[in-house]
């Protein structure tokens, strides 16, 4: 079990992690979501003792990471940034890690088989593809057969087969009672992988709930509207206190229908009210469909709120100025 209490990390004037508290339970896959720069990686690095917290605590089964003896046998971590010397082979990378934990060399070969790198184990890691590097990272994380796994963007760079492999691996480990915390910006991936979600924005906790709950929370709040007169409708909806945005890519407006009217995604105003508004102003509607929110929508909703909140507080712009230093 991972317990994060009031965890805070400052990089100069920028607050990367802001009084964050959550618990990661064993036996399920916990997704760790947030936009870029939200503090996901920093939080993981704080849990792992790579960065020093400015305040609060992060413990693993009640101990700080640095207090663990043979930590790789308790916690396995795959960090987003590469942690392998390009001139060293996969086997030697895993071998030195195994030696630090007093693990037998046979464990290294076992892991190479597990991730399918046996054939290239003697080659320089610098010659590996992104997918192979990611598999090596997974092998390093699983080396000590840990009870707790922290994976930072594990499906990054993997082909569909690899994505499926990681997904099944995480579910399998969770079903065996292990604790799995996995960060991702791929919402759809989390929707099918994670049982529980922790969503953060600007270093603060936005949601800590089951995946269904997070989806349901945003459900029915957006409406898909197709109209030849989007500007007038947008003005009407904004007058009602709602928001109307041109539907982005992948939002279902489809390609190849260039002759059709543009699509708006409306939030904050129910479908019936949009119809009434359009009728009263004689705006033609071609389509009016309430949308069941996907996790992506729920996530964007949560994080856009957090961004607004950030701008309203006076510290907002100053914090943003040094974005990107969180690694």
């Amino acid at each position: 079990m991972i317990e994060v209490r009031d965890l805070t990390k400052r990089f100069g004037p920028k607050v990367a992690v802001d009084h964050l508290s959550f618990t990661v339970q064993p036996g399920r896959v916990t997704g760790f979501l947030g936009p870029n720069g939200a503090g996901k990686s920093t939080t993981m690095r704080l849990i792992l003792g790579l960065d020093h917290a400015s305040g609060g605590s992060a413990t693993i089964d009640g101990k700080r990471y640095a207090e663990l003896s043979n930590p790789l046998r308790t916690v396995g971590a795959l960090l987003e940034a590469n942690s392998v010397h390009s001139g060293r082979s996969a086997r030697n990378h895993l071998l030195f890690l195994a030696q630090t934990q007093g693990l037998p060399a046979s464990r290294v070969d076992q892991m190479l088989d597990l991730v399918g790198l046996r054939d290239v184990a003697g080659k320089r890691a610098g010659s590996y593809s992104l997918g192979m590097s990611q598999r090596l990272g997974v092998a390093a994380a699983l080396l000590g057969d840990p009870e707790i796994l922290l994976l930072d963007e594990p499906v990054n760079g993997l082909d569909p087969e690899g994505v499926l492999w990681i997904r099944n691996l995480m579910k399998d480990l969770a079903s065996r009672g292990r604790t799995v915390l996995v960060s991702s910006h791929l919402m759809n991936e989390m929707a099918v992988t994670a049982d529980h979600l922790i969503v953060i924005g600007r270093g603060r906790l936005l949601a800590d709930a089951s995946t269904e709950e997070v989806i349901a929370r945003g459900s029915g709040q957006s409406v898909r509207v197709r109209t030849p007169d989007p500007d007038r409708l947008t003005a009407l909806i904004e007058a009602e206190g709602g928001k109307a945005l041109p539907a982005g890519n992948g939002a279902g407006n489809g390609a190849g229908n260039g002759g059709e009217a543009p699509v708006l995604t409306v939030t904050g105003v129910p479908a019936a009210r949009i119809g009434e508004l359009a009728a009263s102003a004689s705006v033609v509607l071609h389509e009016l469909t309430p949308q069941l929110a996907t996790l992506e929508d729920a996530f964007l909703e949560l994080t856009s709120d957090s961004l607004e909140f950030g701008h309203l507080t006076t510290a907002g712009p100053a914090r943003e100025s040094t974005d990107g230093s969180t690694r």
């Binding site: 790579l50 010397h85 071998l95 399918g116 690899g162 399998d172």
Partner: protein, 281 residues
Amino acid sequence: MSATAAPSQLESRVTQPGRSAGFGHLVLAEWTKIRSVRSTMWTLLLFVIITIGLTALFSWLSVSHWTGPRAPARDAAILADPVGFIFGAGIGLGQLTICVLGVLLITTEYSTGVIRASLLAVPRRYPMLAAKIVVFGVILLVLAELVAFGSFFVGSAILHSRVVVALSDTGVLRATLGAGFYLTVLGIFSLAVGSIIRHTAGGISITIGVVLVLPILAGLLPSSWGAHINAYLPQQAGSLVYKVHQSSGQLLSAWEGFGVFCIWTVLLLGAGTYLLLRRDA
């Protein structure tokens, strides 16, 4: 790739949990790190070739051009201090490979990101640095003594027709052993600088600056206190141990100088360890 291998292979649990791996395991791991990177091994080989090779080359050139147009002063210098001549050329350049290697050993951990894997495995951090120093120190000591004695025997054999020098002569054994000690401590000194700077280019520049440039700068200082500063500089003090003859006005004895060099190294290692513990990795 074996996408289906996961469930069955995960069954095999790692046995003997709980017992903390000892320092010996960390030393073994650092040995694996050093030997598994080709550039490290090449640099060590380069050190051997450059040091012994240049000693042989310069000795041979001196002997084959004995009594040339500008020879008398040089020949006199060789006759007066043959050991200084033998170690002068080879170690003078060979030591730079040691500086580079010492810095690289720690800075590449940062540039490649291996430091994260290393510190996840050893979250107390300083045992990792200590194990690295032990492994590097032992490798260097063996190799540097081999190189020191190799240089001496090659150099003295080539010079034999003009000047005879033997290990049994006063101070020669100490100087030869001392050359190996000096190079070993220089390697650890460089590693300490690397652990403070964390960047390869910066670390190498500073180390070579300390070894080559600082003595020249100190030499430009006004005489009395300039000489004192010069005597206590790391490289100036450390190099006394591989010199047979004391120069006039020398402030430190051979072993005192070596001690000063060791103190510099320990201080820098202390700073490096402190920063390793304090800084985010």
